[in-house]
Structures are given as structure tokens and as C-alpha cells.
């Protein structure tokens, strides 16, 4: 397409919006509502995922060795473990460290009492272990099986139930968000298509003349594509601006007025939210505008 034609198409596209202002505003309004709602869902899900990840990162899998395993054998097991794909990091917990931790947890660090009962004995002498963090907790089952299969591994302890519940929650959130996004996209697509259809019917005579004079399809379609893209762009920028202020205000308000929430949740910063939200929203707005127009012009402008 020539530059002069592009200029013409942009001018005509903007004129279409002006001519068809009421319907264009309705489309922009709906797009704003849809993408604002999407923004809210996105922020909630992002914050929840952030929390889930926090919890996930604290979940550990412990690998215990066969009794009497030598240091070389333990080191060999460590090498084998690190070869597995789902391992985020691994720490060696010696029997002494394990016993000290136990004393801290169970006897609140009362060494005097512990000494009086156990003397110099370490009841956890055969309980040195590797403490492992996983990259993806939802794949814990598979990783545990792989760990159990390593020669010299006696036992693998994992918090299976918590991991599964968290994975299920993330999955559920993902399904909900995909569902909501799909519905919102369809609503927006329908509205943009409606607006373009009206624009086409208003310019029916002009389009017919253009076609008979010898205009190429793209020349006839381009102004409507510009119209759709522009509606989509405006419809995505406005909710982003609103979201920016609403998010800051809401997280600030929640942190200031609800101590329980403030203690439990570490809110994702608005910058972090917008790193993903802004490009996705703009892409969705522009994409829906473009494809809405493309489908509509394809349907109505065949001569």
C-alpha cells in the first residue's frame, strides 16, 4: 500500500468514527468496560499467583539416605539429584544440623534439658538429608518418583497435599481467567463488528462506486480496519490509565486499613502489574478491533 493511500485510509477511518460517533463511543465504552474488568482479574490473579509462588518456594522435599551411607555416596546422590530437570535448588542438612533444628522446634532450644535426656547422643544420626526446592510443584509426584529411584536413597518426604492443593488453585484461577477473557473478547468483537457494519451501511453507495471504479479490496477495507484498530486502541488505553490509579489506590487502602490482609499479602507493585497488563490489554484491544473489522469487511465488502 502506498504512503498516500495509508494517509487516505487513516483520514477516512477517523472520519468514519466521527460520522458514526454514537456507535463508535458505544464500542469504545464496551471495550473499556471489558478491558477494565480484565485488568481487575489480571491484577487479582497476578497477586494470587505471587502469593502462591511465595508459598511454593517455601515447600521443600527431603531426601534421606541409606543407613551408613558414606560422604562420597551422599555426594554422588547429590550429583544425581541436580541432574533432574525440576530441581530449583538443594541444601545438604547434616545429622547435627537436623538435630539442632529439632531441638529448636520441639524443645524451644532448651539445651540443658536435652542434654540431661540424650547426653551426647544424636537420635537423628541417620537422618542427614538433602532439602530440595522444586521449580514446578505441580510436577512433584514425578520428581519424587525420580528421587526415589536414585540408588542410595532410603526415603523421600514431601508435602504432597499442599502442593496439589496449590496447583489446583492455580489451575482453577487460570481457567477462570481464560473463560472471562474469552467471553469479554467475544462481546467486544461482536460490538466492533456491529459498529463497522453500521459504518459500511452508511457508506454503502460510496463503497459501491469505489468498487465499480476499480478500487482494490484493501483500499476499500483499509479505512474500516483503521476504524477498528483505533476503537480498540482507545478502548484499551483508557482502562489502563484508570487501572493505574485504581490499583494504586486500592492496594494502598487495603494495606492501610486491613492489617490482616497487610500481614498476609505482599501486593505486587503497579509497575510489575503493568509490565504484563499494558501490552496484553493493548494487544487485545487492537487485535479485537482489527479482527472484528477484518471479519466484518470480509463478509460485507465482497463484490
Amino acid at each position: 500500500m502506498k504512503i498516500s493511500t495509508l494517509g487516505y485510509s487513516i483520514k477516512q477511518g477517523l472520519k468514519n468514527i466521527q460520522r458514526n460517533l454514537l456507535f463508535s463511543l458505544a464500542s469504545v465504552g464496551t471495550m473499556i468496560a471489558c478491558l477494565f474488568l480484565f485488568g481487575i482479574f489480571y491484577s487479582i490473579i497476578l497477586n494470587m499467583e505471587h502469593e502462591v509462588k511465595d508459598i511454593q518456594s517455601s515447600l521443600k522435599v527431603s531426601v534421606f539416605f541409606d543407613e551408613g551411607a558414606s560422604e562420597e555416596q551422599i555426594a554422588q546422590i547429590g550429583t544425581e539429584i541436580m541432574k533432574l530437570e525440576n530441581i530449583a535448588n538443594m541444601n545438604y542438612i547434616s545429622a547435627d544440623v537436623a538435630w539442632k533444628g529439632y531441638i529448636e522446634d520441639v524443645y524451644q532450644g532448651d539445651n540443658e534439658y536435652v542434654n540431661s535426656v540424650f547426653g551426647d547422643d544424636n537420635p537423628l544420626a541417620n537422618s542427614s538429608s538433602y532439602e530440595i526446592s522444586l521449580k514446578d510443584v505441580s510436577r512433584q509426584d514425578v520428581t519424587v518418583k525420580q528421587l526415589e529411584a536414585i540408588s542410595g536413597v532410603r526415603k523421600v518426604n514431601s508435602s504432597d497435599g499442599t502442593a496439589k492443593a496449590l496447583s489446583a488453585l492455580i489451575k482453577l484461577l487460570s481457567y477462570i481467567s481464560i473463560g472471562v477473557i474469552a467471553i469479554l473478547l467475544l462481546v467486544s468483537l461482536f460490538l466492533i463488528s456491529n459498529t463497522i457494519t453500521i459504518g459500511i451501511s452508511v457508506r454503502k453507495e460510496e463503497i459501491a462506486i469505489m468498487k465499480l471504479i476499480g478500487a482494490k479490496d484493501i483500499f476499500v477495507r483499509a479505512p474500516f480496519l483503521v476504524e477498528g484498530v483505533f476503537i480498540g486502541l482507545i478502548g484499551s488505553l483508557i482502562p489502563l490509565i484508570i487501572m493505574y490509579f485504581v490499583y494504586n489506590a486500592m492496594t494502598g487502602y487495603l494495606a492501610a486499613h486491613f492489617e490482616l490482609i497487610a500481614n498476609m499479602v505482599q501486593f505486587v507493585t503497579v509497575g510489575e502489574v503493568f509490565k504484563g497488563l499494558a501490552p496484553i490489554s493493548i494487544l487485545m484491544g487492537v487485535g479485537v478491533g482489527f479482527f472484528g473489522s477484518l471479519l466484518t469487511t470480509h463478509k460485507h465488502l465482497r463484490v
Binding site: K2, Y8, A208, L212, I213, G214, K216, D217
Partner: protein, 228 residues
């Protein structure tokens, strides 16, 4: 330039708008296609513009076989044909200049060429001074001249005029015909579909008469044949 070989156009209702029509028009010809309503004149125009496809037969314009044309090739074909409509079909929200320039814009001519070409074309049809006016401010004859200017501004090889004098008084009708004659003298093939008896008889050009979808006469320097 224009060939119709055994062209039949049958609508889904079963009605044959054109029935086995064969017609040859040479480059530079001026031809009237005459006939009463329902004779197939409008169908013929639509077929030549490839708005519709014949149910049988072949159409060839400037060496291009319509049956072999791809969809994306249709705009290029139409650029060879300038069309004038009975009801002018001007864009009401655009000035005379913009209406004529529109024809060049849609085929993506550069602005410099549009600025050069449009005033010359408007001068040719006698509307140089009215370039700023809107269609509603013009008489019927002037509006048809704008439509004619729009049809010729891209210098097509053929002009198809569908009842160009249908909404005009005799004086304006004659003026439009004279303009078409001038254009024809410069080498453009002109095909005029009309039922204006006086004009046809006055112009003394080739006359092809259609009746119920068939060519019933084709005469050089002919006249309008009254239907029985």
C-alpha cells in the same frame, strides 16, 4: 475491444435476462444499446462491469476473458471502464472537485497527478468554475457532467453510460451526448444504454436493439426501433 460470445444470463428465478447474445464492439466505436425495460440492457452493463457472471457464454474485453479472471484482477479490469449512471451517483458530502478526484484516489494515483488531472477534466466538461460546489447546488445536467468527468478522469478505454440522459431535459441530454461524442473522437470506445429515441435518432451512430434478452437488430448509423 468488447466481445460477447453466445452470452446467456439466467437468474435463479428462471428468467433469462440475456439469451444467447453475441456482440462485437471495436476499439473507438460509439454504440447505442436500446430497448424497452426488461430487454436486458442493465444486465448487459452489469455483465460488462463483472458485477455478475453469465450463466453461459464468454465475455472478452480488451483481450481479457472474464471467465478466466481472478477476483483480484477485477479492479484492474474495471479501471479500463469508465461508468456513467442514470442517477449520477455522486457523493453528496463532497465537492465537484472531490467527486472527480475520488475516482483517482481510489485507484491510488498520487496527489500531484490528481491536482493536475482533475482541473483539466472539469474544464473539458465545462465545470471548471463550479469545482467548489456540492452536487445539490448543481442542475441535473451539471451533475451528469460531474459524473462524466469522474468516468473519464482515469482515461479509461471504454465508457459505459447507463441511461445517461434518463433524468435530463432535451437540451442537457444533447450536451451530454456531444461530450460523449467528443470523448469518442479522442479514441475512447463509448457504449450508451438508453431508451431516448430522439437522441439515438439524432446521433446517427451504431444502434443495437435488444428485445426480451435477444439482439433483434444491429445497424450502423441506425435509428431507434419502436417495439411492436
Amino acid at each position: 475491444m468488447v466481445q460477447l460470445e453466445h452470452v446467456t444470463m439466467q437468474y435463479p428465478t428462471g428468467k433469462k435476462a440475456l439469451d444467447n447474445v453475441s456482440l462485437h464492439i471495436n476499439k473507438g466505436d460509439f454504440v447505442f444499446i436500446v430497448g424497452s425495460s426488461g430487454s436486458g440492457k442493465t444486465t448487459l452493463i452489469k455483465l460488462l462491469l463483472k458485477e455478475i457472471n453469465p450463466t453461459d457464454g464468454e465475455i472478452v474485453v480488451d483481450g481479457q476473458q472474464y471467465s478466466k479472471l481472478k477476483r483480484k484482477e477485477i479492479p484492474m479490469l474495471r479501471r479500463k471502464i469508465g461508468v456513467v449512471f442514470q442517477n449520477f451517483r455522486l457523493l453528496k458530502d463532497r465537492t465537484v472537485f472531490e467527486n472527480v478526484a475520488f475516482a483517482q484516489q481510489v485507484i491510488e494515483r498520487p496527489m500531484s497527478e490528481i491536482r493536475r488531472q482533475v482541473p483539466g477534466t472539469l474544464t473539458m466538461v465545462g465545470l471548471a468554475k463550479q469545482y467548489k460546489q456540492y452536487p445539490k447546488e448543481l442542475s441535473g445536467g451539471e451533475q451528469q457532467r460531474v459524473a462524466l468527468a469522474r468516468a473519464i478522469v482515469n482515461q479509461p478505454e471504454i465508457i459505459l453510460a447507463d441511461e445517461p440522459t434518463g433524468n435530463l431535459d432535451p437540451t442537457n441530454s444533447l450536451e451530454i451526448m456531444r461530450l460523449l461524442e467528443d470523448i469518442n473522437k479522442k479514441g475512447t470506445t463509448v457504449v450508451v444504454v438508453t431508451h431516448n429515441k430522439e437522441i439515438v435518432n439524432l446521433m446517427q451512430k451504431r444502434v443495437v436493439t435488444l428485445k426480451k434478452g435477444k439482439i433483434v437488430s444491429d445497424e450502423e448509423k441506425g435509428g431507434y426501433k419502436d417495439e411492436d
